[in-house]
């Protein structure tokens, strides 16, 4: 801004402080995707996407419906394996390990890479068993006390403990939508994953439940690598440090969230986020 009063020659005026873009330089790459193509039968859904997702941070995927963001997300924990006609080419490394290698057991992989879906999908079991299921399956708890602790820690981290601690034996399906989603997040983090994938985790929730989940995501990023697909641009802007914009199966722009939302490099990104698309 221009000067506000008397200045002596050569004195620098107060210069504009530009807040730096989120610095993730000390965050190593957690998920390294290289040249990913996905086909459903003959139809190609993803075209040659490469992306390095940093650890301990939130990366959001945005783009219009059908742009391939969910398909790409599902490559990271090999959820596309469950679709008969799907074929994935290219390499994805988590901490340097190729997730598509024959030596990787998809079930173990999914314990390292947790997933939260659009609609809360608690098991038709008690709240306690919803959380205890994963640790039991993977043999993570050595005693009942151990398991109790895991359940409490997971529910606490998911911000649900105080609301459910007196009714752990009641069915998880009896909770409200927002609570169910936090239960699913607690279930995902109970097996101590390294990466959490969230596919529109708030789109079925009211604004207050959404705010709770967003707050939770912000806390979880201290220890996890989180990738979130969202249709809410504001949500992507609020919760993530990196944003990737997908269009027609291609990665159009991937960068610092603040830059993407204030000064995107690509015209298609700009058109999409300003509501000029299509």
């Amino acid at each position: 801004m221009a000067d506000t009063g008397m200045q002596t020659a050569g004195t620098p005026l107060s210069s504009v402080t530009v807040s730096p873009v989120t610095d993730l330089s000390d965050h190593a790459t957690k998920v390294d995707c290289q040249g990913i193509d996905v086909f459903y039968g003959d139809k190609q859904a993803i075209f040659d996407i490469s992306m390095a997702i940093p650890e301990r941070s939130v990366t959001s995927f945005i783009g219009p419906s059908g742009c391939g963001k969910s398909t790409f997300l599902r490559c990271i924990n090999r959820m596309n394996d469950t679709i008969e006609s799907a074929r994935v080419d290219g390499k994805i490394f988590i901490d340097g390990q190729d997730v598509n290698s024959d030596r990787v057991d998809p079930v173990l992989l999914r314990s390292r890479v947790g997933m939260v879906f659009q609609k809360p999908n608690p098991f038709p079991k008690s709240i306690y068993d919803n959380i205890a299921y994963g640790p039991r399956l993977h043999g993570l708890a050595s005693s009942r006390k151990d398991l109790d602790e895991m359940v409490e820690t997971s529910l606490t981290r998911a911000g649900l403990w105080n609301e459910v601690k007196d009714r752990l034996a009641q069915p998880g399906t009896g909770l409200s939508g927002g609570q169910q989603q936090r239960l699913c997040i607690a279930r995902a983090i109970a097996v101590s994953p390294e990466v959490i994938l969230m596919d529109e985790p708030c789109s079925a929730l009211d604004p207050i439940a959404t705010a709770r989940i967003e707050e939770l995501i912000d806390e979880l990023r201290q220890r996890f690598c989180i990738v979130i697909v969202t249709h809410s641009m504001q949500q992507a802007a609020r919760v993530s440090q990196r944003t990737a914009f997908f269009h027609l199966g291609r990665l159009v722009e991937f960068g610092d969230t603040e830059t993407v939302f204030t000064n995107p490099t690509n015209e298609r990104t700009s058109d999409y986020i300003t509501g000029r698309f299509g």
């Binding site: 641009m233 000029r276 698309f277």
Partner: protein, 233 residues
């Protein structure tokens, strides 16, 4: 900047266009105020000075209206990227122009106290300075309406001339006052008028910075701007 295609929500595009039209209207009034205040001073025209003072109400009311509509737009439309920068720019430019209006009004109010004082040569200097400042405002408003960052940069660096003009006015008026203590009252008014014009110049550089940010998404920092050294004493 490339021409903008329309939003899917057409009312949003209309609101943004209206906002920019209002800023230009406000700028036009402010420009007229500078011009008329200087004319009133040169001619000793108290009626014109009075009319100029009254125009400040127009500037103020446009600012209030712009601010109200921007608050609404931010709440309802969640503007992003180029739109977000355009809205923020409009809000900031409006407040800069509001100050330009105030300063011009202040010049007009000093026409009365100065009438009858024998300071015609200093007033000629003020007139030239006023023309320069008005030109700066005109250019920066053009840079806003054309989204022309090169022009905004030109205004930004051009403020140095205004500062030099101010320094020479300061020196001249100071000399008058030292020569004839009877002119201290009139001289002080002239000093304030020159300072007001210099401040309007600063508001123009602020607007230039805002336009530059709106168009390019990058910040100009004041420490990089060329400036005339300030006079001692």
């Amino acid at each position: 900047m490339r021409p903008m295609t329309s939003h899917i929500v057409s009312a949003f595009s209309e609101e943004l266009e209206q906002l920019s039209a209002d800023i230009l209207r406000m700028g036009g009034v402010a420009e007229t105020m500078i011009d008329q205040a200087c004319q009133a001073l040169v001619r000793g025209d108290l009626k014109l000075a009075e009319e100029t003072s009254e125009m400040d109400d127009v500037v103020d009311s446009i600012e209030v209206d712009v601010e109200r509509r921007i608050t609404r737009l931010l709440a309802l439309r969640n503007p992003m990227a180029t739109d977000l920068r355009a809205v923020i720019a409009a809000l900031k430019v409006a407040s800069e122009l509001e100050r330009v209006g105030d300063l011009s009004k202040n010049i007009a109010k000093r026409v009365g106290p100065l009438s009858g004082a024998d300071v015609s040569s200093a007033i000629k200097g003020i007139e030239r300075m006023g023309t320069g400042v008005k030109q700066q405002l005109n250019s920066v408003l053009n840079s806003y309406s054309e989204a022309d960052s090169d022009l905004s940069l030109k205004v930004w660096t051009g403020d140095e001339d205004i500062d030099q003009h101010y320094n020479s006015m300061f020196r001249e008026v100071l000399t008058y006052m030292m020569q004839d203590p009877g002119l201290i009252g009139a001289g002080t008014h002239l000093m304030f008028i020159a300072k007001n014009l210099e401040r309007i110049g600063d508001h123009c550089t602020n607007i230039a910075e805002i336009v530059h940010y709106q168009v390019t998404g990058t910040y100009l920092t004041s420490s990089a701007r060329p400036k005339a050294p300030l006079l001692e004493g």
